[in-house]
Symmetry: C2
Subunit: 245 residues, 2 copies
């Protein structure tokens, strides 16, 4: 059996297959507009972020935790003066994020089609209900042999999934937009990572260039370049194994 037969290609979902982060950032802008009359400080955006991070260990990632954190910020930063109607607006923003239309990023359909010879996987982080709903609405579910929704994407998570599906790190490819969640842990466990930056990235997912440069991974500007990269790398691997044996 050659390495081709064992190659598994996994995709992040949000901001890799479809845009997502911009809904949160747009929601945040609406919340800032609500808050400006109560809180004149220039550090409003940072205050909102701090509240989200403070709650992350209780709420985890996703739109419901986002909405609850924003409500807490609204209450705190308005000194409790916020109105019921304003809080209802925040809940509506959360619901808007959770039922936003799923539009595939350009090139995704063709890329999935070109790679259908491989077992494909989705590994996405966040709220279970929300992510399942998005995958269903994307119309892509049938293309993926494995779908995993996880609460955190770190070394331990990837190692657990590889063990669960009996995949050797050298046969595993992870494609995503977040250096912190999709790339560095994957490179760290000796698997292949392909970074495709997206225009909007949450500050929590950012890592310094210096930190990232210590890792070995591929960087593409669009997902359309993925099939050629995989083909070239898998063939090179086969060639290498032949010359060894």
């Amino acid at each position: 059996m050659t390495n081709t037969d064992k190659t598994v290609i996994a995709f992040d979902a949000d901001d890799t297959l479809w845009p997502n982060e911009h809904y949160f950032r747009e929601g945040e802008q609406q919340i800032i507009k609500l808050l400006e009359r109560y809180y004149p400080g220039e550090d409003l955006l940072d205050k909102l972020y701090q509240q989200e991070i403070k709650n992350l260990h209780v709420f985890g990632y996703g739109a419901k935790g986002f909405a609850l954190s924003m409500i807490e910020s609204l209450i705190e930063l308005s000194d409790g003066k916020v109105t019921g109607q304003e809080i209802q607006q925040v809940i509506e923003i959360g619901k808007m994020i959770m039922s936003s239309p799923i539009e595939l990023i350009s090139g995704v359909t063709e890329t999935i089609e070109a790679l259908r010879g491989y077992p494909l996987m989705i590994i996405t982080k966040g709220d279970l209900f929300d992510q399942e709903s998005k995958i269903a609405r994307s119309g892509l579910a049938d293309n993926f042999k494995m779908i995993e929704i996880v609460s955190e994407k770190d070394d331990a998570t990837y190692l657990r999934l590889l063990k669960k599906y009996h995949i050797a790190p050298e046969n595993f490819w992870m494609v995503g937009n977040s250096l912190k969640s999709d790339i560095l842990p994957v490179a760290h466990i000796g698997a292949h990572a392909v970074h495709i930056p997206h225009e909007t990235t949450w500050v929590h997912e950012m890592v310094s260039d210096k930190h990232a440069s210590a890792y070995n991974y591929h960087e593409l500007s669009t997902i359309s370049e993925l099939p050629a990269l995989i083909k070239r790398e898998v063939e090179r691997e086969i060639q290498k194994n032949r010359s060894v044996s």
Copy 2:
């Protein structure tokens, strides 16, 4: 290979391995106290429930969706007069539910121990982050070969999991407190279901006796009776297969 070798025993978690529902009902009582000064109607509890059900298709199950629904109810039923401080109390109730201590139901430890010869599984419904956190805090995780957190427990979910793990329905046992989620769909797909009622059951999880009586399942009063039931039933199955062959 006998049937014993193939038997897989799956457990629901909330209100089967540890109490959970009562935290929600206690939270609800606190919210009713907050609301009574705004809304004098006798149908308050029903109003809260209706709001939860209305939001279920956007929020799914779990404490975060519960908190958001309760906040919406507070705003609506108070005609927007609710204060920021009162809404903060609802968020605190949600956080309390999400970080409540996990105390195992009496007999759980011994039952798990007695059944450790079988591959054990947890199948639980709700919020991914919340459920993972509870399983971790329970200290039981290492006893379970498979852990599945799902957004809904219906025929399709059980069929998908059985297919995923290559388990035949006749070798699959599901143990839980909810007729709607743990018992009827499992009986319906031809697997074994063991109902262990818990003192508190959410009205959404209830089914009529008439509806339930159309299904064939086991009923125990405590989890401690489970090992004897499984032993008896699995041995009977082996006996039956021997007399056939």
